[in-house]
Symmetry: C2
Subunit: 222 residues, 2 copies
Amino acid sequence: MCGHEVLAAVLQVRDDRLHVLLWRRAIDPDAGAWSLPGGDLAADEHLGGSIRRQLAEKVDVRELAHLEQLDSRGRPERVPDRRVVATSYLGLVPVDADPQVPDDTAWHPTDALPRTAFDHGEIVRTAVARLRSKLSYTNLGFALAPPEFTMSELVKVYRAALGHDVDPTNLQRILVRRGQIEATGSTARHGPGGGRPAAIYRFTARALEVTDPFAVLGPPRG
Amino acid sequence: MCGHEVLAAVLQVRDDRLHVLLWRRAIDPDAGAWSLPGGDLAADEHLGGSIRRQLAEKVDVRELAHLEQLDSRGRPERVPDRRVVATSYLGLVPVDADPQVPDDTAWHPTDALPRTAFDHGEIVRTAVARLRSKLSYTNLGFALAPPEFTMSELVKVYRAALGHDVDPTNLQRILVRRGQIEATGSTARHGPGGGRPAAIYRFTARALEVTDPFAVLGPPRG
């Protein structure tokens, strides 16, 4: 016999830093530690339905631009006093959203987590690694960025998500070449420092695509 | 309450076609249908340990060049008469291995599956899709290829795995440029059709790496 739970690491860039949504446990086990949203799978639920139901208790799930399964973990000792396998999800909220959250719930920088419950800190690190990896070979940036943005706004989002500096010219060149972003034709009223007006871009798609397919390995064209 | 099982889709290129290892169910539920190797998670096991134990009953696991978690699925009706969440794995066996398998077990082409049990056919399709996707942005070819190969041998492996034609010159150029493969310095005794001797290559690494990192998004160098 076993129990099964679903957990979500919901990430958002806030104040130029990548954050994760956590709630503080009021009672044992591990009272005072910060937990990922989620809970036990109900008998009549599938995994994706269960995480959406449970996330809805902590955050307006309409703000989620992306939700994908991360992995499952089943070390017998991962939670004290019961045997429970966890399936974790990665959720992403765009930088321009500010979802309401309950009193026990708060956003924490992923590079300065408070004390986390059980293996939840490890799940956050796995979620951040998955996000960083997918930013390199997919268009997943759409789920962190606002609907429209200047390159300097987008660079801030990428810097925060990747945790290191990013060159704006290279970022623009590569995202345009891969067809991930396109110019809207509009410009921002003021360029940075009062210079030329900055062009406004958007992502060309708002669903996950592998945007750097290994061209030579694609099916023959024509 | 729920049960938890682990299942593996073990893939290998055989006779120039991608195959999956399945065993034939002798008793109900779904007697006669073909199943993925695996079974119930034991109380003292973690997921990865459980799939290795259960795979060992069907195939020499030392032949596995790669094993990774694929996903978990928990639709209440996925298996009749019991509630069981499944965590699936993708396993890869190199083309030059020929592992012994039990009498109830056989390799089947992934594009012409026999009647499969429960949602196991869907798991096979997910495994094939994951493999094809990872061939495009990682060095995962190492787990399907023999230790050393000519380009014409490697092309056969990629054609079978991808399910479509691949141009040998492009494949060589891209894999070399990405640092995935390197010339050993040796040549095969006879070139194809008695022409020039063919150069022999090997993969530079035999563990999974993302070999096409989004250069602009990498940490600053120097």
